[in-house]
């Protein structure tokens, strides 16, 4: 396959960036999208040019590191996959492909396609945990019986890999799907109920401080989420938040 790439190039966080055109040939349809970029970077390196910086780590869809807004969609046109799981067979020979970083005020560009998603970490640190005694007498989590229904919902929420596709896809750059997944994962379990009120209040406060937009229920996040996190989680967080703010 021969492709025309339009890639966002930005030297660093301070300088302005722009879209730059590249042509790439002999792309195998069996390559992953990241492997295609590896090939491009090898060519750029050989020519002595600056390679395109992009995020990646596990390359098997579980670390949440790879990002990219490809042809107008987070993680590209495929559904339920991250960019490392996106194959070049989803594109046609001769296609023009736009490759941009995830865009949000709370995700500033570090270089080219690499964005700083540490705002997610700070939201997690504000309450996305449970406090347990780990001094040698930790109670086995399975010692407490939990309804299968709740355990399943909690586990579904816990599959969020924090990639930020929800923020990137949302017209408001809202982080509600991410935060609601992290809130739900604990809110559904007895271990998480102890700190449920503080958790949701603190995480939402942090989310707002980080400069994410407000949710307007367009549902783009749910469609683009590589892990299929449901909007149900946002509704649950809205409920949790309402009860927590009335009671505290």
């Amino acid at each position: 396959m021969n492709l025309k790439l339009k890639i966002w190039r930005q030297k660093n966080a301070r300088e302005a960036g722009k879209m730059v055109d590249y042509n790439i040939s002999n792309v195998s349809p069996d390559m992953s999208f990241l492997e295609m970029l590896d090939v491009l970077n090898e060519e750029l390196n050989n020519k002595g040019e600056d390679p395109v910086a992009f995020d990646h780590d596990c390359r098997e869809g579980i670390c949440g590191m790879c990002s990219l807004f490809i042809n107008g969609e987070a993680h590209g046109p495929d559904r339920g996959v991250t960019t490392c799981q996106l194959h070049m067979r989803k594109f046609k020979d001769g296609d023009t492909i736009y490759i941009e970083p995830f865009r949000a005020k709370a995700f500033p560009v570090i270089k080219d396609l690499v964005v700083d998603r540490s705002s997610f970490d700070r939201i997690q640190q504000a309450g996305g945990f449970i406090s347990v005694n780990t001094s040698g007498n930790t109670i086995d989590a399975n010692a407490i019986p939990i309804k299968k229904h709740d355990a399943d919902r909690s586990f579904d929420a816990a599959t969020c890999i924090g990639c930020g596709a929800c923020v990137a896809s949302c017209k408001n750059a809202s982080a509600m799907l991410f935060v609601s997944a992290k809130v739900s994962q604990f809110a559904l379990l007895p271990q998480g109920k102890v700190e449920a009120h503080e958790r949701v209040l603190n995480m939402v406060k942090k989310m707002d401080e980080e400069g994410f937009g407000n949710c307007t229920n367009t549902g783009a996040c749910e469609v683009e989420c590589p892990k299929g996190i449901s909007l149900e989680n946002i509704a649950r967080m809205n409920r949790e938040y309402l009860f927590a703010s009335v009671k505290s």
Partner: protein, 280 residues
């Protein structure tokens, strides 16, 4: 903490958006039922409608509801503007290529634009009807033509079910004060109350020889805009309030779609009926 959490946070803004929005949905239903009397007025449609208008402007319970409605419209609009502004700021650099149509419906992405258009409509609508009913010095009172002794005479209809010859007012024996009260000119005592003729105002507005057609068309367009706004807004309000349960989601969604089609459609039929079919 709780105080700011219930007023200023991103989620709280959505609660208020949802609550005021749902209240305005109820208002729409009430307003629609009132307006439909223009279509189905029984024997004397104009009197029926004007009696209804009198009730709506004087009943104390309705007064409270109307203030709640004004507040809801203002709050919904201001909150919406704040949300739109903040959301705009949340993505300073836009995408070179974005395909939101692959993951969202058009109405959900354009709530602010649709809402602004609805606000413009509400303002013009209130100037055309509401403000005349409330403030217009020249608001007409309902009259009826009666054959009295072979002579056609105009009478004012009065709220006690009686008639007052228009000639008495023309000759200065009776004066009209506060737009609708008949006073005995000599004794300066209130004798009767007339009906402000909102029916006449409405029919003349949509039957106006020059502007009636364009007014009717603009009204229909405004209702289409309202329909799209409701198409997303109705279901969205439930999600914002945390009501999302697989058992009821389809019900809420389908009811919302039906609501967003039926309510604006019924509203839109009224000016079209007046303009094209009603015999003046």
């Amino acid at each position: 903490m709780a105080k700011s959490a219930l007023l200023k946070s991103s989620i709280a803004k959505k609660y208020w958006m949802a609550l005021t929005g749902l209240f305005l949905c109820l208002f729409l239903v009430g307003h629609l039922i009132g307006n439909l009397q223009l279509l189905y007025g029984g024997e004397n449609p104009s009197l029926r409608f004007n009696e209804y208008a009198l009730f709506m402007t004087t009943n104390p319970a309705i007064k409270i509801l109307s203030y709640l409605t004004y507040f809801s419209i203002l709050f919904h609009a201001v909150d919406g503007i704040v949300l739109a502004y903040q959301n705009q700021k949340a993505r300073p650099v836009k995408y070179a290529k974005n395909r939101p149509e692959t993951n969202t419906v058009w109405a959900s992405r354009n709530m602010a634009v649709l809402g602004t258009l609805i606000l413009v409509f509400i303002v013009t609508h209130m100037v055309n009807f509401w403000s005349r009913m409330h403030f217009d010095k020249n608001m007409p009172l309902q009259t009826v033509e009666i054959n009295a002794g072979g002579m056609k005479q105009l009478f004012y209809l009065t709220t006690d079910g009686g008639y007052l010859p228009k000639a008495q007012v023309d000759q200065g024996m009776v004066v009209i004060k506060d737009r609708k009260y008949f006073y005995d000119a000599q004794a300066n005592v209130k004798i009767k109350e007339g009906y402000m003729d909102l029916y006449k105002i409405t029919v003349e507005f949509f039957k106006h020889p020059r502007y009636g057609l364009i007014a009717s068309i603009l009204y229909v367009i405004a209702m289409a805009v309202l329909g799209f706004h409701l198409y997303h807004g109705f279901g969205s309000a439930f999600q914002s309030l945390g009501i999302n349960n697989p058992r009821y989601n389809m019900l809420i969604k389908n009811f919302g779609i039906a609501f967003s089609i039926v309510v604006p459609l019924l509203f839109a039929i009224i000016p079209l009926y007046i303009h094209f079919f009603l015999k003046a």
